[in-house]
């Protein structure tokens, strides 16, 4: 998989405050790349640099094999966290204006706009002013503005905030569809469940430094502790507990089930799952046996609080 965006040891300082301390990222083409980090970590600073809103003090950005330069704005679509449109301008005119700023011709912009309005079923809004629309409706327009010029790279900063579940699902499906059409998506969010659902790559920035980066599955593998959740029906609980505590670390677990079984979380250490299963099957009926995979949320909290 080739790389669409490469961030190379980027440093950004505001006065004495270091917002980015030599951050490097590699975003593969066609990926959905989650940029995670607590508030004030430097995510927005980095996104602004990629959008050429601000310049890095040091380091460089490579977009699709070329050093980042002004003409690249047309390849990038940006949905900022602070949403906003001209409140007194009509929706259609506004979208045309913003699309033309991204280098589209007026005719092309109009064609794209009509296509997207139809796709999102908002054809009737053309002559409305933003101030006449609800917040969620305005967000939809903002989404259209962001994708209108068919950018290769889409950057969404908290894309789901402000959407109700119905619209959030629509936007999520659109994001996936855009990826199918060949776009790469970077998205920055606090909502870990959407990262879990959408992202195939993640990077975690904390206190101006990048701490983790990679394929989501690789990162999870890196963070897994080789623990299993076990449910077992046994007549001799004491004997069972004796057997397994000899070999493994055991803590009580909590998961949903229909039976009234014993629920345990067992850390295997260097042992293999089969060794545990052998012990368990001798002592009772195994009803539940699942490897415990760390969630993005776990990884986030674990890394940030270190």
């Amino acid at each position: 998989m080739s790389t669409i965006l490469e961030v190379n040891k980027v440093v950004k300082q505001y006065g004495d405050y270091v917002a980015l301390n030599g951050v490097s990222l590699t975003v593969p083409k066609g990926s959905i790349y989650g940029l995670l980090g607590p508030n004030g970590a430097g995510k927005t600073s980095l996104i602004r640099i990629i959008n050429q809103i601000t310049l890095p003090d040091r380091g460089e950005i490579i977009l699709d094999g070329e050093k980042l330069q002004p003409k690249h704005v047309q390849y990038i679509g940006y949905l900022p966290e602070e949403r906003g449109l001209y409140t007194t301008m009509k929706v259609g005119e506004q979208c045309l204006y913003l699309a033309q700023m991204k280098g589209l011709s007026k005719a092309e912009a109009k064609k794209q706009l009509e296509y997207w309005f139809e796709r999102l079923e908002i054809q009737g809004w053309w002559n409305k002013k933003i101030q006449e629309l609800s917040k969620g409706m305005a967000q939809k327009i903002q989404f259209v503005v962001c994708v209108l010029h068919k950018p290769k790279l889409l950057i969404f900063d908290e894309p789901f905030s402000g959407f109700d579940p119905v619209n959030a699902t629509i936007i999520k499906d659109e994001i996936l569809a855009l990826r199918e059409e060949g776009a790469t998506i970077i998205f920055s969010t606090h909502r870990m469940e959407s990262v879990e659902e959408l992202c195939d790559h993640i990077a975690l920035i904390h206190k101006s430094n990048k701490l983790i980066e990679g394929k989501l599955s690789d990162v999870k593998r890196q963070f897994k502790t080789n623990s299993y959740e076990v449910g077992i029906l046994s007549d001799n609980v004491e004997g069972l507990m004796y057997d397994i505590t000899q070999k493994f670390t055991v803590t009580p677990a909590n998961f949903k089930s229909l039976n009234n079984e014993l629920k345990l979380e067992i850390q295997l250490g260097s042992a293999l799952p089969n060794e545990l299963l052998q012990v368990l099957t001798q002592r009772g009926q195994v009803t539940h046996f699942v490897e415990k995979i760390p969630s993005v949320n776990d990884i986030f909290i674990q890394t940030v609080s270190k």
Binding site: Y14, G15, R48, N51, Q52, I53, T54, P70, V73, I76, Y78, P80, E82, R83, G84, L85, Y86, T87, T88, M89, Y97, L98, Q100, M101, K102, K106, Q142, V145
Partner: protein, 438 residues
């Protein structure tokens, strides 16, 4: 279409479509003409004649005053010397006299100089007191002449009237009052520039603040450079402003024209004159008028107009970049006050310097210095140009203006670039300075 012309177009359309802009465009000339008509109407209204009671114990002056009584004059003097002084004093309020002029009986005429009193409830106007003093002084002087056995008629004859006529070294005849006309022309253009800067500079600032508060600015500057956005805004607003000024001038002129047709302006006194008198007066008038018109044509009209265009562009761009930077630095208009004062001050200063210094001494040090300083030169130099300014001075002034303009735009763009992304805090001067270094 280039990005900057896109921005200019949007700014222009946004301004022109704005409801308050439309209302102001068509209402202002109406208000202005209406106000002018109202003031005109007020000034034609006759003020009530004020009655002045005179108690003249000397018997010397009362008839001097009653002699100058005019029908419908502003003041009517009543000789009430026969009535008791104390009673008169008490009746000022009851009888609704404006005041009481009390002239006591004195030993020597010398004593009149400081014994005369004017008693009133309201303080009298200076011009009224001066008039009264003049009448008394005239009478006293005449009395003194007679006492000294001088021939008053001979003195009156001997009195000389001097009227210096002005001419230039080139030999042309000149007219008085030309300085006033010159300062009037320069002042009108200078004032126009000031008004334009204040109205449309503010508009630039508001538009920056609007983009900032609506948060759209982040989307826009991810497509264009802040500098392009700022310049587009300034130019677009200027075009809308020029359109508005043009419409104002058009409506104003046609309203004036309509008004003059409707009311029949200025036919009052001349209509009553006999035809012969009128003709004579006209001949005399046209002589002077021709000279004025000749003088007006002799003014450096081309330099005035070219100067106006250059200083208009330079001044407007210079100041509106300040306004744009301020708009970027603050979150709302109330916060902008502290930064606006230093902008308004030089503007006011240049108008004052223009009207007070340039008219007295157009080529004096103060006038020359202020016509060089870039913040004041657009207005002060324009006021000086009608008096004839050496080309080298204009060259220096324009160079300085545009030099400053480019550096200010550079600074303003820096503040703008940082400021538009700063939300939620009111910056201090110190912080603005820090932004310059980012």
């Amino acid at each position: 279409m280039s990005i900057i012309s896109l921005i200019i177009k949007r700014e222009f359309i946004a301004k022109v479509r704005n409801k308050s802009f439309i209302v102001m465009t068509f209402l202002s000339p109406l208000l202005f003409v209406g106000l002018a008509a109202f003031v005109g109407y007020l000034s034609t209204m006759k003020a009530d004649t004020k009655r002045i009671a005179i108690h003249d114990e000397s018997g010397l002056f009362a008839q001097e005053f009653t002699a100058i009584n005019q029908k419908n004059g502003e003041y009517k003097y009543l000789d009430l010397s026969v009535i008791d002084l104390k009673f008169l004093k008490d009746s000022i309020t009851n009888e609704n006299y404006e005041g009481l002029l009390y002239i006591p009986k004195v030993e020597s005429t010398k004593d009149f100089e400081n014994k005369i009193q004017f008693i009133s409830n309201n303080s009298p106007s200076i011009s009224f007191i001066e008039k009264v003093q003049e009448v008394i002084a005239d009478k006293l002087t005449k009395t003194n002449f007679i006492q000294a056995k001088l021939d008053t008629l001979a003195i009156a004859k001997a009195k000389a009237n001097v009227n210096i006529s002005l001419s230039k070294a080139s030999g042309e005849e000149s007219v008085k009052g030309l300085n006033e006309i010159k300062i009037g022309i320069g002042g009108a253009f200078g004032y126009l520039i000031m008004m334009f800067i204040i109205i449309y500079g503010n508009m630039v600032m508001r538009s920056v603040i609007e983009e900032k508060t609506s948060r759209i600015v982040e989307i826009i500057i991810s497509s264009v450079k802040p500098f392009q956005l700022m310049m587009g805004k300034i130019i677009g607003t200027a075009l809308a402003g020029l359109l508005q000024f043009f419409i104002w001038a058009l409506i104003g002129l046609s309203l004036m024209f309509a008004a003059s047709l409707f009311f029949g302006v200025d036919v009052g006194p001349t209509a009553k004159l006999s035809p012969e008198l009128l003709q004579a007066a006209q001949q005399e008038m046209t002589g002077t008028a021709q000279m004025y018109i000749k003088e007006l044509w002799n003014l450096p009209i081309a330099s005035i107009l070219i100067g106006f265009v250059i200083y208009f562009i330079g001044g407007y761009f210079l100041y509106s970049s300040f306004y744009a930077a301020i708009g970027a630095a603050v979150d709302n208009q109330t916060d902008s006050q502290q930064f606006l004062l230093p902008i308004i001050m030089p503007l006011m200063l240049s108008v004052y310097v223009g009207f007070f210094t340039v008219i007295n001494d157009p080529h004096g040090t103060v006038a020359v210095v202020f016509s060089m300083i870039p913040l004041t030169s657009p207005i002060v130099m324009l006021m000086r140009i009608p008096f004839g300014v050496p080309l080298w001075q204009i060259a220096i002034s324009v160079t300085l203006l545009f030099g400053t303009f480019f550096s200010v735009v550079w600074f303003a763009a820096k503040i703008y670039r940082i400021g538009i992304l700063m939300y939620g805090k009111k910056p201090t001067w110190g912080e603005l300075y820090k932004w310059l270094k980012y």
